[in-house]
Point group: C2
Chain length 311, copies 2
């Protein structure tokens, strides 16, 4: 399996729908995943925007199994499997690899702060050794604004040296292009696939040897983001990038991104239940929902085919 095709392009950290009792809702989840795939997006289920850490281990496994059973191709999946507990990370990763997922997106253990690179190295190393599967492709997940614990170039260098096949790339959600550039300059040529955590950096990432993006707003604007991924060398790439930024800012600049994404899915699918989040997050207020909707209409935003996919 060492020649397997690497997953690249645009992936959505799939938002997780909840029912009225705050349980994960598998049918809505699968419908959204299938719509995303139809729009050219891969599935980074169980990311930050998926409220993955607000789900129990069993809830994650159940959703992933339901998705796999629905017939969606696991080669388009990069589920999040990095937990605070080593044993949870191992079991989730094992499950994803055995199911044939293209890769896994792996947070560092994020409870203890100020941990050393040596400690993080041991965490990733233990996971790789315990999973013990040649098909494993890990994408390290750097999101210091949320996890606080982050991924350094020195850690990547050491991991790649020891595990050149398993360490496949990284998602950089630092929001700091200079940081992304350091990893691109140091590792992209060695086959380390850099995904930016926002499509605002997609063009810059592709121009510097990156692999794509894994972005919140791929949940709502997947086709346009995928278009720039495929056409980044076209003359209108800058214009495409600007249009993507406008859409992204409409969701994320004034509102809590996760709640706004779900409000968007609720609005365009006509299914109000989609707006629900789990504590400690809050859904948008009615006023916020109304102003978001108005702002989206003002930029002619749409999610074509979503209503049909969700019904």
């Amino acid at each position: 399996m060492s020649n397997q095709q690497r997953i690249k392009g645009v992936l959505a950290p799939v938002v997780t729908p909840f029912d009225k009792d705050l349980n994960p809702d598998a049918p809505r989840f699968i419908a959204h995943c299938k719509w995303l795939i139809s729009q050219g997006s891969g599935l980074a289920a169980f990311g930050t925007n998926s409220e993955a850490n607000s789900l129990s281990f069993n809830e994650r496994i159940a959703l992933l199994d339901a998705l796999l059973a629905s017939g969606v191709d696991p080669a388009r999946m990069m589920p999040g499997t990095g937990c605070c507990a080593l044993t949870d990370s191992v079991r989730l990763t094992e499950h994803a690899v055995k199911a044939g997922c293209a890769g896994v997106l792996m947070l560092p253990p994020f409870y203890y702060k100020g941990v050393s690179d040596e400690g993080l190295y041991r965490n990733y190393s233990e996971i790789i050794e315990r999973v013990g599967d040649d098909r494993l492709r890990i994408y390290l997940y750097h999101i210091p604004p949320v996890a606080v614990v982050g991924i350094t170039p020195k850690l990547v260098e050491r991991l790649m040296k020891k595990y050149p096949t398993a360490i496949a790339g990284m998602k950089d959600s630092s929001g700091d292009w200079k940081n992304t550039k350091v990893f691109l300059d140091n590792f992209a040529k060695s086959g380390f696939d850099m995904f930016v955590g926002s499509e605002s950096f997609l063009l810059a990432n592709m121009q510097n040897g990156g692999a794509g993006c894994i972005s919140a707003t791929a949940n709502v604007n997947p086709a346009a983001i995928d278009k720039l991924y495929r056409e980044w060398q076209n003359p209108d790439a800058e214009a495409q990038q600007k249009a993507l930024d406008v859409a992204r800012n409409t969701f994320g600049k004034k509102y809590l991104m996760i709640a706004a994404l779900k409000a968007g899915v609720a609005h365009y699918s006509g299914d109000a239940q989609w707006a629900t989040v789990r504590p400690p997050l809050l859904e948008l207020t009615k006023d916020e929902m109304a102003s978001l909707t108005a702002e989206l209409q003002a930029i002619d935003f749409d999610m074509p085919g979503l209503k049909e996919a969700q019904s």
Copy 2:
């Protein structure tokens, strides 16, 4: 059960032993718990110093069940049950309450940062409603240096108003006496039991109407800390406090506290396996272990009866 005796005094966030394969080691854990009880300490198992968030849900349940089966009185237990996932917090809390534990120590969900008091209120409220047991006593866990997400006076006020029996108190591990004082001044008279997160604040806490302390170093120095708790009105209380501070600083000032505590247990029990921690933490190096041991000898530190308890 509304007249049940509240748990007070000194509790240890029990350090969790691991075997050579990094699995939690129930026999060593039980032996340490029994030794702590014999020294006057209660058991706040599954706290920060317990590496609780480095354990899976099932590993926590298994350790708690083993401890309960060993005959230790659950009236002396306040296990940590606050997780990122609402459903995990509910199930762990339910388990502890049904087993008769005196209370539970509850972290806020700590993955998302900058969450609102309303979001945290909903988290705790959902847990209380779902557990739905009059015996539930929650001690809110404020530890901003690690969890980043914290507990505010406004949140406590709102929770106490709605759940006057279930919201029983708080552990303040901010390390900021001014913060503890705010909670004492506002809530102690209403029966809100304040535990400081370090015995360095024990005397001050008792002088201001507090309930005790839940402290890392209660793992290694329980009898002396319990003595000050019982004798805080004695003339030598200041002297006792100073001696406690010296011991605490020997463990925590130069070394990572959790690793140093385990090194201490390893040294005084003669069982080197105790020094093991799970990634992302690191055990002390051989040099650190040697210097810690020398520093402990220099202050005539001892853990009487530990060797016998662990053998």
